[in-house]
């Protein structure tokens, strides 16, 4: 499969790039490391008229430690650099682990944080060659009113398979979206939509420029369950955070079209503590919390089992952390 014809634009400044976006945002695909976009283009899943490379924009680079203890991470930082970054590792080792969990070292040498946060959703029926999809007749993701995973749905169930969002959501990270019209800041937790087609609230004229991670003394764990070490998309991920007063937050990834913040399970862990029996209760609740899941990549029943086990493991790890 060869890349479809397209223009390649590499602006020198963010403003120059935002200008391009404001004029023709819908025809533009932002290019970070290109580890996902180029594959999707080969498969004609994306056929942008313009590829806009943002990987070397100075505004999108660098990790800063702010006086209040926050970390400001540029969206074009490469995952390999972030996984090895001293400040990231010393403040949030579990976040560093989430960066390192993405794909393989080869991919992390190219892939950017912004790219992973915006990683397109994935599905057996969409992430195929054009010819393959044509044989099935297309689906919601390719503009046809049909879903081959769940026949009755009107909203795409493709999976958000990115490894980095759960930990950042658990850490209360915020992101900045820049456009020619200005800047807006929002919680990463509010960035995702449970719709495989339009899976973030980013407008086509916007660029995700940075991630701000506020300081916290809380414990954080990140766990990724996958078929193969060192390369694969996750079957499921979890980030779990616990404050000294017991307040607990649980965020699941890769089990649906958006990361899932587990409310009931977190309440149980917060209010009752982390004795084995309460961990079991929370884990059971997670199965319910998960909502509707599909048989995509793994069977739905397995996804529920896995959610329960991830909660169990994460809470146990939080409890047993030194």
């Amino acid at each position: 499969m060869l890349l479809p014809a397209h223009d390649y634009v590499k602006p020198r400044t963010l403003e120059e790039g935002l200008g391009v976006l404001s004029r023709s945002g819908a025809a533009v695909r932002l290019l970070g490391g290109g580890t996902d976009v180029t594959f999707n283009m080969r498969n004609r899943l994306m056929q942008p008229a313009v590829l806009l490379s943002i990987r070397e924009l100075p505004e999108l680079l660098g990790v800063e430690e702010w006086p209040d203890g926050s970390l400001r991470i540029g969206a074009a930082c490469r995952l390999a650099d972030l996984a090895a970054h001293q400040a990231v590792n010393s403040r949030h080792p579990a976040l560093a682990a989430a960066f390192k969990a993405v794909a393989s070292s080869h991919v992390r040498n190219m892939a950017t944080l912004g790219g992973n946060l915006n990683l397109d959703t994935r599905c057996w029926y969409a992430n195929q060659t054009q010819e393959w999809r044509a044989a099935k007749g297309g689906c919601l993701k390719t503009g046809v009113d049909a879903c081959h995973v769940v026949a009755s749905v009107k909203t795409c169930v493709a999976i958000n398979n990115a490894d980095t969002p759960p930990a950042l959501i658990a850490l209360d990270a915020t992101i900045t979206l820049a456009s020619a019209g200005g800047r807006r800041t929002l919680r990463l937790a509010d960035y995702y939509r449970a719709d495989g087609v339009t899976h973030t609230v980013r407008r086509t004229d916007e660029v995700l420029t940075e991630v701000i991670v506020p300081p916290t003394p809380d414990r954080l764990v990140f766990i990724k369950d996958t078929a193969r070490l060192g390369i694969d998309f996750a079957y499921g991920t979890i980030a779990a955070r616990r404050a000294a007063d017991g307040r607990t937050r649980l965020v699941l990834g890769s089990l649906g079209p958006a990361p899932v913040v587990l409310r009931r399970a977190a309440v149980i862990a917060t209010q009752r503590g982390l004795a084995d029996t309460h961990i079991e209760e929370a884990a059971e609740a997670a199965r319910e919390d998960l909502g509707v899941v599909s048989n995509l990549y793994t069977p739905a029943a397995y996804k529920r089992d896995l959610a329960r086990e991830l909660v169990r493991r994460a809470l146990t790890a939080l409890r047993d952390m030194p």
């Binding site: 060869l2 010819e131 070490l229 694969d232 029943a301 086990e309 169990r312």
Partner: protein, 747 residues
């Protein structure tokens, strides 16, 4: 039983691969590296429907695209057959998603790809049956007129007296098992470069396991004689039974070349690799075994239903199990029932381990269950019933050497079986499997290997062989065999291979025949050359030929080593003599048997696994593997083969599965078709059992696919043991399948 000190100078040495540096440094040339002047790029238009009538094909828009040199379809070549009853291009009806409909040759790959979209095919979709279940149900559409009920070829065979065997049994145990569609996942994609610009000669550059098989098939399909077809193969990125026969793209590249008068390369693009692959299909098994109360196997029965896909292409896999099931145990009789079921899916062939790896994953679980049903330790049960040297299977295969019992005893001892079997904590499991594998086999073909050895004036030797090295290390072993005979070093032997116009006939690298068959041919050729040199040396030294010793690049009389000539000196004296003899050795080998293998390897493995009951994930902790390989000509290579096969066996049992929907593969990529990586490899302990086979070259037998069959058995049995169920009735034993087994268990 290892070699006595001084018995050999090269054989038994841990010889690193002679092509290793070339490969790891990226210098090795593979087919896709070859670019010929004027070469065109071909692409194939494939059916998007599991079953549909072709109403019309209109290529005019494609032909109008600048750079397109030819578009061909069944309209151009209606009579070219790919296999019996199977046109190369779908003629009236396409029978599976991916069936070849038309093909394009263009000046570059992107033009060829674009042209595919400009071929207008009008389809009339027809009802399809894409799985065994759909094809076998009442009222299923009949896929071919010649196959009522969609039942294709069948094979039924009784050996000995199975009815008497079952009658004499105290207990009969029956089990069912299923294996999925699996892909060979070759490192090197399918590729063919064909030049048929002159009508009397077709040259095809392509990776292959057997140049003669490709010559025969292409010649028959394209109306040439066999030697008019020249097959050229360079380095080969794996085969795993996936390159035994040419595929449609070989024929299509040739026809495009004929049509355009230019060389045409077709390389499988991305998911095409999974669309036309011809690996193993879904298969259902029923095993039945009759046994006496004291543990003697009396009767063995196997009933296998194969999904053969849209055509019955490779019937060999249908009849192969009938014989092989007789090679492990003594029994009164055995019964085999096999049938091909046609479905609207890609035609099937085989996967690494042949059909017997997959059978074994179920059969050995079943045999463990038989043993446990009569209250016997499965290892003792295997031992009690196992073949001995000198035995003959019910099918007539004779085992001149057989280390099966030695292998079983070795793995039992080294794995700590007695301390572990039945005593492990919950969710830890241990399993044992045994197996036998042919070292080459007569049947469908004559199974000949031939070789030539050319001795040059500087003492370097060129070995001409038709054995492909697709990663198994055959060329290194052949160099060692020639070097051992001639008393030189493996590095002194240059291999010329990979060109059917140049090398002598060799049936190829499958049926685990390389070391045994080609090895014998190379040994014979090298001995022929040595005999010619010895005649001269005997005169020079004034001793009988039997007194001469060849070794360490020297030739000398046994009684006076100080008189030694270097090998190069002897060659010089032979050539620069009044006779002027130029030494070329010839040799070939074939089995004196009319049918079946001349030797079998045997093996036993014990696997230990751990199951995570919460996620269903299986971790293989350790594999203890003992194999009777006759003699380890290159122990390093043998261990490499064992590593690879333990890896692949584990992969097939725990990971690999083509998921399908309406005949379409849902996971047609290395990302979604999940092969494990080296991280997932368990610890492997090797025990090489050397039984020195009387027919093998220096006593060697195969190690090409014997181990994987046993690995699959041992790991599958260990998982069943860990779960505390008699059988896990399906592979791969993925986390969700294991979870489902746990959910079904009481308590």
């Amino acid at each position: 039983m290892s070699a006595k000190p001084g018995e050999f100078t090269v054989i038994g040495r841990r010889q690193p691969r002679l092509d290793g540096f070339e490969k790891v440094s990226g210098r090795a040339v593979y087919t896709d590296d070859i670019v010929l002047p004027g070469m065109l790029h071909g692409r194939i238009l494939r059916s998007p429907h599991p079953r549909a009538r072709i109403v019309s094909i209109d290529a005019s828009r494609a032909l109008a695209l600048p750079g397109v040199k030819a578009v061909i379809s069944s309209r151009d070549f209606p009579d070219v057959l790919f296999s019996e009853r199977q046109p190369l291009f779908a003629r009236d009806t396409a029978n599976y998603i991916g069936e070849e409909v038309a093909a394009v040759a263009a000046v570059d790959a992107i033009t060829a790809e674009e042209a595919l979209h400009l071929i207008d095919v009008t389809w009339e979709p027809l009802p399809a049956a894409t799985t065994l279940r759909e094809a076998l149900r009442n009222g299923a559409p009949r896929i071919h007129d010649w196959a009522p009920g969609n039942v294709g070829p069948t094979h039924e065979k009784d050996y000995g007296d199975p009815d008497l065997g079952f009658a004499e049994s105290d207990l009969v145990v029956e089990d069912q098992f299923r294996t999925p569609m699996q892909h060979n996942t070759l490192t090197e994609f399918h590729v063919a470069l064909a030049d048929w610009s002159k009508p009397e000669k077709l040259t095809v550059w392509t990776p292959t396991q057997s140049a003669p098989m490709y010559q025969q098939n292409l010649a028959k399909g394209l109306g040439l004689t066999e030697s008019q077809v020249r097959i050229v193969y360079n380095n080969i990125g794996g085969a795993f039974t996936g390159r035994g026969r040419p595929k449609p793209h070989h024929f299509i590249a040739a026809l495009l070349s004929r049509r355009t008068g230019r060389p045409v390369k077709i390389r499988a693009a991305g998911d095409e690799e999974f669309i036309m692959f011809r690996g193993s299909g879904e298969t259902q098994y029923r095993f039945r075994t009759g046994v006496t109360r004291d543990g003697r196997i009396k009767a063995i029965e196997m009933d296998i239903t194969f999904d053969s896909g849209g055509h019955a292409e490779w019937v060999m896999i249908l009849w192969l199990p009938a014989a092989v099931m007789n090679w492990l145990y003594h029994a009164k009789g055995s019964r085999y029932r096999g049938r091909f079921i046609l479905t609207n899916s890609v035609p099937k062939g085989s996967h690494h381990g042949g059909i017997f790896g997959r059978i074994s994953a179920g059969w050995m679980q079943h045999m463990t269950r038989v043993a446990e049903a009569i209250g016997m330790d499965p290892a003792e049960f295997h031992l009690l019933n196992a073949m001995d040297p000198g035995d003959t299977g019910l099918d007539g295969t004779h085992f001149a050497s057989c280390g099966l019992k030695e292998c079983i005893r070795a793995v039992v001892e080294r794995s700590g079986w007695k301390q572990k079997y039945g005593k492990l904590p919950r969710y830890r499991g241990i399993g044992i499997g045994i197996g036998a594998q042919a070292s080459g086999s007569k049947g469908a073909a004559n199974d000949t290997s031939a070789a030539m050895v050319k001795v040059d004036g500087d003492g370097l030797v060129t070995l001409f062989t038709g054995i492909p090295d697709m990663g198994q290390g055959s060329h290194t072993v052949m160099s060692m065999i020639a070097a051992e005979v001639l008393g030189i070093e493996p590095a002194d032997v240059r291999i010329v291979a990979g060109d059917s116009d140049v090398v002598p006939f060799d049936w190829g690298a499958f049926s685990q025949r390389g070391t045994f068959m080609t090895g014998n041919a190379v040994k014979n050729a090298a001995e022929d050359a040595r005999k010619q040199l010895a005649a001269v040396a005997a005169q020079l030294f004034g001793v009988p030929e039997s007194e001469l010793r060849f070794g360490a690049r020297r030739v000398f009389p046994a009684s006076s080593p100080q008189k030694a000539l270097s090998f190069a000196q002897l060659v010089g004296k032979t050539f620069n003599s009044p006779e002027g003899r130029y030494v070329m050795g010839r040799g070939f080998f074939n089995s004196p048997r009319a049918f079946g293998p001349l030797a079998c390897s045997f093996g036993a493995q014990v696997a230990e696994v751990e199951v995570d009951p919460a996620t269903g994930a299986v971790k293989v902790l350790k594999v203890t593997a003992a194999h009777d390989i006759g003699r380890a000509l290159n122990p390093l290579g043998v261990e490499g083969q064992l590593d690879g096969q333990v890896f692949s066996g584990m992969s097939q049992v725990l990971y690999e599965e083509c998921k399908t929907d309406d005949g379409q593969v849902l996971n047609p990529s290395r990302l979604e078709y999940k092969l494990p990586r080296t991280w997932e490899l368990p610890a492997v302990e090797y025990i090489l059992v050397e039984t020195i086979d009387p027919y093998g070259p220096f006593g060697a037998k195969e190690v090409g696919e014997g181990p994987i069959v046993v690995t699959m058995a041992a790991i599958a049995s260990a998982v069943a043991n860990a779960l505390g169920v008699g059988m896990v009735e399906e592979i791969p034993m993925t986390p969700w399948r294991v979870r489902a087994v746990l959910d079904r268990m009481p308590g």
